[in-house]
Assembly symmetry: C2
Homo-oligomer: 464 residues x 2
C-alpha cells in the first residue's frame, strides 16, 4: 500500500489542529447549554424525497447504495428498505431537525430549543473554505403553531455570545449582519416588483458580480425598470448598527412611494432587533439590507456573519426565521435558527496561523522507565497522577533517559517523571520531575505534585 | 408532510437519551485523555478499494454517488473524483486510522496514541443492539516498525478504567475477555491443524451454534479428526483470571503432544497480561480461550467485553493486536486497539432503564416575564446568571405566572425566577426564586444565587 494522499474537500486535522477544533466545539456547546439549548444528534441519512424538496440543493446530495444491493436484486432477494435505496446524506442540519421535530413532536415541549453539532455532506466542487464534508453547529428554537418575534432577537445574540466566547481562544471578532425578508419584500412590492424571489436572487449576487451586473440582472430576470433596479440597489446599500437605519429605509421608500404595511412590519422588527443588540452586544450586530440568503424558506429575519479581517471567507454563521419548513398537516412548526460553519472557521484559524494548540497531546507527564522489570513501578506512578487528574503516559521503552526525554520532547510532553531507585534496605527512593523546557528538575511526590494549571491540559491560544 | 416514522437501524435519541449518550462520551474522552491518547477525527468516507481489502466486510459497505453524476457523465462533463464514485462510508474506525497514520506518518511521533469517537455505517440487517449507523469509541497505539508487547497489556486496562468510570453513571460492571492468537494458532498447529483461519472461524461460532455443531464444522471445514476437534473445543473451554489458566492450557497441550514454540510465546504473553490485570484491575480482565474474533488481521492478543447481566447483547468493546494493517512499503505500523460500541451500550442503558438523565434540558432556571414591555429585565437577570455559569432561559411569553411555571415543569426546569417589581420611586424590587419541585420560594439576588450543585447541570444517573 503506497502512501495515501488527502481527498480534496474532505478535511482532516493533525492532532494539534483537532485540539483547536475540539476547543471551538466545547466553547460552543458550553454557551449553547448556558442558554438552555438541549443537544441532539440526528442520523446522517434522510429519505431522498425530503432532501430534494427544495430543488435548488438537489445537485449537492450524496446518494447511498449498499454495495451488494444490485446482486441481491438480480437474484430476486431485494429486501425493501435494506438496500439503502432512496437515502442520501444530509446537506445541512435544518432539514433533519425539522423531520426530528415532526417525528417526536409528542415528546417535546415547545418552544423547543436545540443545538446540534454534526458533519454534513455536499457534493460541491471544493475550494477555499468550501468542503464536501464539514462540521456545522446549529441552534434553533421551534414553536408549535406560532413563535414570537423575540426569538429572532435572541438567537443572533446567543451566537454573538458564543462567537464572543471564542475570542479567548484567539478567534477574531465577528460582525453579524441582519436583514428582514419583510423589509425587502415589502419594499420590492411597494416598488411594483412582484417576483420577489427573482429580486432576492439578484441581490444575493452583489458580492460576486457587483452592483452594475446585479442591476442588469434585475432588469433582465426580475422584470424591473432601471429606476426600480436602482432603488433595489439603493436599499441594499443601507447598513448600520443604530435606529437611523430604519429611518433611512423609510425615507428611501417614501422617495419611491414604495411604503407598504409589510415594509413597516419588517422595519418595526428590524428596529427592535437593532435596539436590543445595541444594548446587549454593542458593535456586533449590524443591520445590512444587502443580506438576502439564497434559500427560499426564510420568512422574517435573515443573518450572515463575517470574521473581521477575513471577509473573503464568506459567511461563517448564517440563518433566519422560517415558517413553513415543518408541518404535519395539522400543526406547523415555525422556527428561527443559525448555523456556524465550524470547519470553515477552524480551517481558516489553522491555515492563517491565528490559533494554535499549546501541545499536540493531552499528556502532561511522561513517566520514565528505568528497566522493563521495573515498568510496573512507573505504571503505578502514572495511575496515581491520573487519579488526581493529571494526564500521564509511561515511556515506550527502558531506553537511556536522554532518549526517553527526547521522546517526550518529540511528543510535546512538558514533564518527565523519574521514579527514584529503592534504597538498599528496600525503602522507596525519591522521585523527581523535570520540566524539559527549562531543564529544571525537582524532587516530587506523585501523591501531591501537580503541573502548573496552564500545563495541565493542552489549550487553544492566539498565535503571537 | 405526514408525520415521518423512524428508519430501522438508524437510532436517534430524545434529548434526555442524548444527555446519557453525551455523558458516556464525555467520560470516555476524559479517561482516554488522562491516559495520553490524542483525539482525532477522520472523514466519513474512504476509497472503496481500501474498504474492500478484507473481503469479509465488503457486503456491509454503503457506496456513495453524487445525485447528478450520471447526468454529467451523459453530458460528457464527468469531472474525475468529483462524482463521489469509488467512495464508501467507513464501517469501522480502524481502517481509516491505518490510512491516517500512513498519510501523516511524517507528522506523528511513534508510538502514536489516539482515540477516535465517530459514527460508522454498515448495511447490515438491523436487530437488537445491531445498527446500520452507530457510534464507536476507539483507542489504538501504533508503532513505526515495531510495538512492544506491554501495550497489549496496557490497552485493555485503559478500557477497564474507562468502563469502570462509567459505573458512576449507572452502567453495569463489565468483564473483558482476553485471548491470544499465538496460543490458538500454536495449539492448532501443534495438533497438526494448519488451516488456522478455518478453525478460528468455527470456534467464533460457539456462542451461536454450540459446541457439537462447531465440532462438526471443524471436521467438515478445517480438516480436523474428531479427536482434534475435541481438543480445540477443550482449549476453548478454558478460562480464568489467574495464572492457572496458563498451566491448564499447557497441560492440555502436553496431553495432546501439541506444544509449540508459538504456543509457549503466546502463553508467556497471556500470563503476563493476566498477572498485570490481577494487580491493576482485579476481576475485570479474564483470560478466555474461546475468544476468536472473526477479522483476520489480528496477530496477538484479542479482546471482547460483556456487560455483566447483559451477555445477550454481545461484545460492547472488542479489538486486538495487528501487525500488518498499515504499511507504506518501507515501514509497517503494528498496533493494538479496542473499540467500544457506544450506540449498542447506550441503547441498552436506555431500553433496559438502567440509566436516566436527571432532566432533559440543560436549563436550571426559567426567568419569568412579567409583561412583554419588561422582557429586557428578565433578559438581564438571565445574562447575569449565565455569566456565573448557571444555564438559564427566559419564558416564551408573559403569560400568567401559573402558566409560566407549568412551562418550566413541562421542560423539566427545576427553578423559576421572578423579577421583583420596581418600587414607586424606581428602586429595583426584590427578586425571588421558586424550586418548583418543593414549591419553596425565597428572595434571591442574580449576582450571588446559585442552584445546589446537583441541579446545576443535567446528570446521567443510575435508575433506582
Amino acid at each position: 500500500m503506497a502512501r495515501p494522499t488527502p481527498l480534496s474537500g474532505f478535511p482532516e486535522w493533525l492532532p494539534d489542529g483537532r485540539i483547536v477544533e475540539q476547543h471551538v466545539l466545547d466553547v460552543l456547546r458550553r454557551t449553547f447549554e448556558l442558554h438552555g439549548f438541549a443537544g441532539i444528534e440526528t442520523r446522517a441519512v434522510e429519505p431522498l424525497d425530503q432532501l430534494l424538496r427544495k430543488g435548488e440543493t438537489s445537485k449537492e446530495v450524496y446518494v447511498l447504495r449498499r454495495l451488494q444491493a444490485a446482486d441481491e436484486e438480480s437474484a430476486g432477494r431485494a429486501r425493501g428498505d435494506s438496500d439503502g435505496a432512496g437515502l442520501g446524506l444530509h446537506f445541512d442540519l435544518t432539514v433533519p431537525f425539522a423531520r426530528y421535530v415532526l417525528e417526536n413532536a409528542g415528546h417535546l415541549a415547545f418552544p423547543f430549543r436545540r443545538y446540534q453539532m454534526q458533519k454534513v455532506w455536499r457534493g460541491e466542487r471544493p475550494q477555499d473554505g468550501r468542503f464536501r464534508e464539514f462540521v456545522q453547529a446549529d441552534i434553533d428554537v421551534v414553536g408549535a403553531g406560532s413563535l414570537p418575534y423575540h426569538y429572532e432577537v435572541e438567537l443572533p445574540l446567543v451566537m454573538a455570545d458564543a462567537l464572543g466566547a471564542l475570542r479567548e481562544l484567539g478567534v477574531p471578532p465577528v460582525r453579524i449582519l441582519v436583514n428582514n425578508r419583510k423589509v425587502a419584500e415589502g419594499f420590492y412590492r411597494g416598488l411594483g416588483l412582484d417576483d420577489v424571489e427573482a429580486v432576492l436572487r439578484g441581490i444575493d449576487k452583489l458580492d460576486k458580480i457587483g452592483p452594475d451586473a446585479v442591476g442588469e440582472l434585475l432588469v433582465a430576470e426580475a422584470g424591473a425598470t432601471s429606476a426600480q433596479a436602482a432603488a433595489c440597489l439603493a436599499l441594499a446599500g443601507i447598513s448600520g448598527d443604530d435606529a437611523t437605519v430604519v429611518d433611512r429605509v423609510r425615507e428611501l421608500a417614501a422617495r419611491h412611494d414604495a411604503s407598504t404595511d409589510l415594509l413597516e412590519e419588517g422595519l418595526a422588527e428590524l428596529g427592535a432587533l437593532v435596539a436590543a443588540a445595541a444594548a446587549r452586544a454593542p458593535g456586533v450586530l449590524v443591520a445590512d439590507l444587502r443580506i438576502a440568503r439564497g434559500l427560499d424558506y426564510y420568512t422574517g429575519s435573515v443573518y450572515e456573519t463575517v470574521l473581521v479581517g477575513h471577509e473573503d471567507l464568506g459567511s461563517i454563521c448564517s440563518g433566519g426565521r422560517y415558517d413553513t419548513l415543518a408541518s404535519d398537516g395539522t400543526t406547523t412548526y415555525p422556527g428561527v435558527g443559525l448555523s456556524i460553519g465550524v470547519s470553515r472557521l477552524v480551517s481558516r484559524l489553522l491555515s492563517a496561523g491565528l490559533v494554535r494548540a499549546t501541545r499536540s497531546v493531552p499528556t502532561a507527564v511522561l513517566v520514565a522507565v528505568t528497566s522493563e522489570e521495573l515498568r510496573s513501578r512507573s505504571d503505578a506512578v502514572a495511575a496515581e497522577l491520573r487519579a488526581r487528574g493529571v494526564p500521564t503516559e509511561v515511556a515506550p521503552s527502558a531506553a537511556k533517559f536522554g532518549k526517553q526525554i527526547r521522546h517526550a520532547d518529540r511528543r510535546g510532553i512538558p514533564f518527565v517523571w523519574f521514579v527514584g531507585d529503592a534504597t538498599q534496605d528496600g525503602a522507596p527512593g525519591q522521585d523527581e520531575v523535570k520540566d524539559i523546557r527549562s531543564g529544571e528538575q525537582v524532587p516530587a511526590d506523585a501523591a501531591t505534585w501537580a503541573p502548573p494549571a496552564e500545563d495541565l491540559l493542552p489549550r487553544a491560544v492566539a498565535v503571537g
